[in-house]
């Protein structure tokens, strides 16, 4: 059984991730001030996705973990997006 001694992430590094997250937060507030019409959701979502990637990769350690967990996370996201997509096949085409 492997003793997983992933390298210990430094406090400074976590702090930099926080700075990035806060920056993205303000950018998301800014981008939604611009009138993008139907694409305003997309604007905000882009930053949410970027923020969540930072949280998943660094705070939740996915970068330092066994690849199987990354694969599972990807798979679950795929299933969820497929569910939304297929549901919209009903509502968009009614």
């Amino acid at each position: 059984m492997e003793k997983e001694k992933h390298h210990i992430v430094s406090y400074k590094f976590y702090f930099f991730i926080l700075i990035a997250l806060v920056t993205f937060t303000f950018m998301s507030i800014g981008i939604t001030r611009i009138n993008l019409g139907g694409y305003s959701v997309l604007g905000a979502m882009i930053f949410s996705v970027l923020k969540s990637l930072l949280v998943l990769t660094f705070f939740m350690h996915l970068k330092f973990d066994q690849p199987i967990i990354r694969i599972m996370v990807g798979f679950v996201c795929l299933v969820f997006f497929a569910l939304i997509f297929i549901t919209f096949l009903d509502y968009y085409y009614r």
């Binding site: 406090y11 976590y14 926080l18 939604t32 979502m45 705070f59 679950v76 939304i84 549901t87 509502y91």
Partner: protein
């Protein structure tokens, strides 16, 4: 054969425990996912009403709460490093800060909700039924359900973190047995992740 022990104590498998927590996180993602599906359909069908509803919400409080959760994610992530570095005191300080930030979040939420309810905006209210369009009623219905369920998960997360804090204090969660703190942290990050999506969907519609 003398090293056979009661099998519930037999093996400590941190990888297995971590996998178990990730699997539980997947169920939470799909649980909230269902609500996101409902939100996306109704926003698609009522774009104007959702915009009006969004403007009723206080962006400042929403942004502050977002920052609070992001910082709390950082502090609990830091606490796992502190535990690995065998700095028990710092671990406890960081976990405590996380819990305090969570409390502030809940207090903010309490006032936010209180304000809405005082103005007659809550599911089933006469004011909403008489004066709001259908889309706005749906917006606020979803607002209360989604932020309410999220707040419930904050409380659950706090309880799990409290359990980890207690065991760190006792010494049974340490650099050689960090699972409870690591996995409590994972759960907390999930709570943060959900809010990362809730914030723009409710507060950033202009």
């Amino acid at each position: 054969m003398e090293q056979i022990i009661q099998h519930s104590e037999a093996h400590y498998d941190p990888e297995g425990a971590k996998l178990g927590m990730w699997l539980f996180i997947f169920t939470e993602l799909l649980l909230f996912g269902g609500l996101f599906i409902v939100y996306s359909i109704y926003r698609f069908r009522n774009p104007e009403a959702f915009r009006l509803g969004g403007e009723e919400l206080n962006l400042t409080i929403g942004a502050i709460n977002t920052i609070i959760l992001l910082v709390s994610s950082m502090t609990i992530a830091m606490s796992t490093s502190a535990l690995q570095l065998k700095n028990k005191r710092l671990t406890i300080v960081l976990i405590t800060i996380t819990l305090l930030l969570a409390t502030v979040f809940l207090i903010n939420k309490y006032f936010e909700w209180g304000l809405k309810i005082k103005h007659g905006i809550y599911p089933g209210s006469a004011h909403m039924l008489n004066d709001f369009s259908q889309g706005e009623i749906l917006f606020f219905g979803l607002y209360f359900v989604m932020t309410g369920l999220h707040a419930l998960h904050i409380i659950i997360g706090m309880i799990v973190i409290l359990a980890a804090l207690y065991k760190v204090q006792k010494g049974t969660v340490n650099a050689d047995r960090p699972s409870l703190l690591d996995n409590a942290g994972l759960y907390w990050h999930l709570v943060d992740l959900i809010w990362i999506f809730l914030f723009p969907l409710f507060y950033l519609i202009h």
